[in-house]
């Protein structure tokens, strides 16, 4: 695999850009060995932002992508799809968090910018060692097992059965009902328990 990394730095409106000098981050990224393209954009997750990613991958024949933006716990699936739409494997992509873990927790502009550059360097270093991964799929037997026929088991079994799926309900006693069947009326409505 060739080393052709593209780095995309997101401003997140002013969320990131007000603390982190994103232009400077992109500029520093261009100097990292293996990086052949780096840019910033106001909202990388938006439609035009994703289009920028797709087009840049084709235009610059990128092989790996690093996106510096918000937490990957939020937008990693979004960007993975965007990268795939650009024509490369979604796992030849790394995302780093320069919002929740940088611009939102630091105030010093030069320190926060320095941290973002370090994180980009880290991600580039990792992405160059990524390999394409494939998602496979497994079949599903659409039948549920519910163990226990008390109020919890009965409710779960009924809900699954009502959704149209077959359910096997296993109860250790000779009757369902569980502790619930032993109760008299129940609070706060004083309904009967059966």
């Amino acid at each position: 695999m060739k080393k052709r990394v593209g780095v995309f730095v997101c401003d997140c409106g002013t969320n990131i850009a007000s603390v982190v000098d994103t232009e400077k981050v992109a500029e520093a990224a261009r100097k990292i060995p293996g990086v052949i393209f780096a840019t910033t954009y106001k909202y990388m997750c938006s439609d035009p932002g994703q289009e920028l990613i797709r087009n840049s991958i084709r235009e610059h024949e990128l092989e790996q992508v690093v996106i510096a933006s918000c937490s990957p716990r939020m937008h990693e699936p979004t960007f993975r799809k965007a990268v795939e739409a650009g024509g490369i494997n979604g796992y030849l992509f790394e995302m780093i968090n320069i919002r929740e873990q940088d611009s939102w927790v630091h105030r010093n502009r030069s320190q926060a910018t320095g941290k973002a550059i370090d994180l980009v360097r880290m991600a580039v270093s990792k992405v160059l060692r990524n390999t394409p991964l494939q998602i496979s799929s497994i079949p599903i037997t659409k039948k549920a097992l519910v163990i226990g026929g008390g109020i919890a088991g009965m409710q779960a079994a009924l809900d699954i059965a009502d959704a149209g799926y077959p359910v096997v309900l296993v109860e250790k006693e000779a009757s369902i009902g569980g502790k619930m069947a032993q109760l008299d009326k129940t609070f706060p409505t004083m309904d009967c328990a059966a």
Partner: protein, 71 residues
Amino acid sequence: MSVENTNQWEPKIIVFACNWCTYAAADLAGLNRLEYPAEVRIIRTPCSGRMDPMFVLRAFNRGADGVLLSG
């Protein structure tokens, strides 16, 4: 060190954060705008079970001043 214009020495701390708890907590710190020193650098791990003592030694070996494992 890529930090510019820092007159004051700050220790470089490498944090290994489990994706499911500590990394999420660090995100939460961001959401709440809790401030902490910028010299903290977080490496995301899929679980603290992934940690290998080798990573810690490597970090110290390469000049880290402190390592925090959290998960």
